[in-house]
Symmetry: C2
Subunit: 194 residues, 2 copies
DNA sequence: AAATAATGTTAAACTAGATTAACATCTATT
DNA sequence: AATAGATGTTAATCTAGTTTAACATTATTT
């Protein structure tokens, strides 16, 4: 398995010795998922955090009316998981499903605790990861309150140009919190006003 | 200063020895704020996380139109800060302002780093705090997407009964992401249908 | 006690975005 | 090549929530 993507990611936050790198890789699990497979299912306790090597996932909430609400897309060099469920070891509120064949590295609950005691620096790494996730989540709340759907769509395009090209439009609508019909309308308005 | 509220809070997550408690309290700063004073101002780099001993604060974002969007209220035994700014040491997106005279304990950036190296367990504590904040933030996104304003208001009342009684209604409307007029309408509907 | 500021209510007119439904295009499978 | 399934578009109608504006009530200050 190619260690490089994960190590490059980790190096942005902390420095590991060779020995520590070896310990790390001895405790993780490599996995291959096919398109449409679920990594986490609503109701299960989520017992892993995953670093994506290749592929794409969506995390979504299914409401009582059976409507999907996408919370986030994840691609290479990002994480995916129901962090809330993982952290508190309670049933997941969300589903994580692969939109493409996806290769990833899994950190399970137990091994992460072991890793924290063997390499305390990792506690810092995962604190930083959660911090970043939190900041992104806070900014999203503000965007949803203070911007129109058109403005949110433009920001999405700018922030995640790679994702826009890989994901069907009706899922982007779900991520933006609008219907696919309304996104279609926004797009045609943008084309006309060009 | 009364150490009890903070220690009781911390004990829910980690256990400190007497010596560690002393180190902790030697590094923190007690502060008194008056009603309407700002703890954090949009644009400043936020250099503290605060544990509230008494009082009440609002954290809000001011948009280009000059409209306030309240992200969270905090009261006794909760934290307040622009965590995003604090974490990344970038200018704050939010303001934190006191709604009542407020007494709190400040952890500044530098002292927190010192504390982490003297008491590594604290790294875990603050990871947990950020994790909880993150989970709450994620749940809020979902609520805003999948529930009506009336449903959100009922959940708010149930979740934060203490806050509802302490805070003017127009601020609750701002927190819910609706106008004060519409909240007024919702309330009168609820009274009629009782 | 009066005056001012802050907060809350009501109602009419308006708009962003949802719903429904019919149709168009693209893609995968036989 | 033909069919079915998935995805995207357009337009009419509808609704949750906004805006505006006038008024009511409650605190706060003099």
């Amino acid at each position: 398995m190619n260690r490089k993507p994960l190590l490059e990611y980790i190096n942005k936050y902390i420095n590991l010795t060779m020995e520590e790198e070896d310990i790390l890789f001895s405790k993780i699990r490599y996995r291959d998922y096919l398109k449409d497979q679920y990594i986490v299912q609503q109701g299960d306790v989520c017992n892993s955090v995953c670093f994506i090597l290749s592929g794409c996932t969506k995390m979504f909430y299914m409401d009582k009316e059976g409507q999907e609400h996408i919370v986030i897309f994840s691609i290479e060099d990002w994480w995916t998981s129901d962090l809330g469920s993982f952290i508190s070891q309670t049933p997941a509120d969300y589903n994580v499903q692969c939109l493409e064949n996806t290769q990833l590295i899994q950190f399970t609950n137990n091994t992460l605790e072991e890793l924290y005691s063997e390499i305390p620096k990792l506690e810092r790494l995962f604190r930083k990861i959660v911090e970043r996730a939190f900041v992104a989540s806070q900014k999203r709340i503000i965007r949803n309150f203070s911007l129109t759907a058109k403005e949110r769509y433009l920001i999405f395009k700018e922030t995640y140009p790679k994702i826009e090209q890989r994901v069907p439009q009706y899922m982007i609508a779900s991520y933006l919190g609008i219907t696919k019909e309304f996104l279609s309308k926004i797009k045609s308005q943008l084309i006309q006003n060009q």
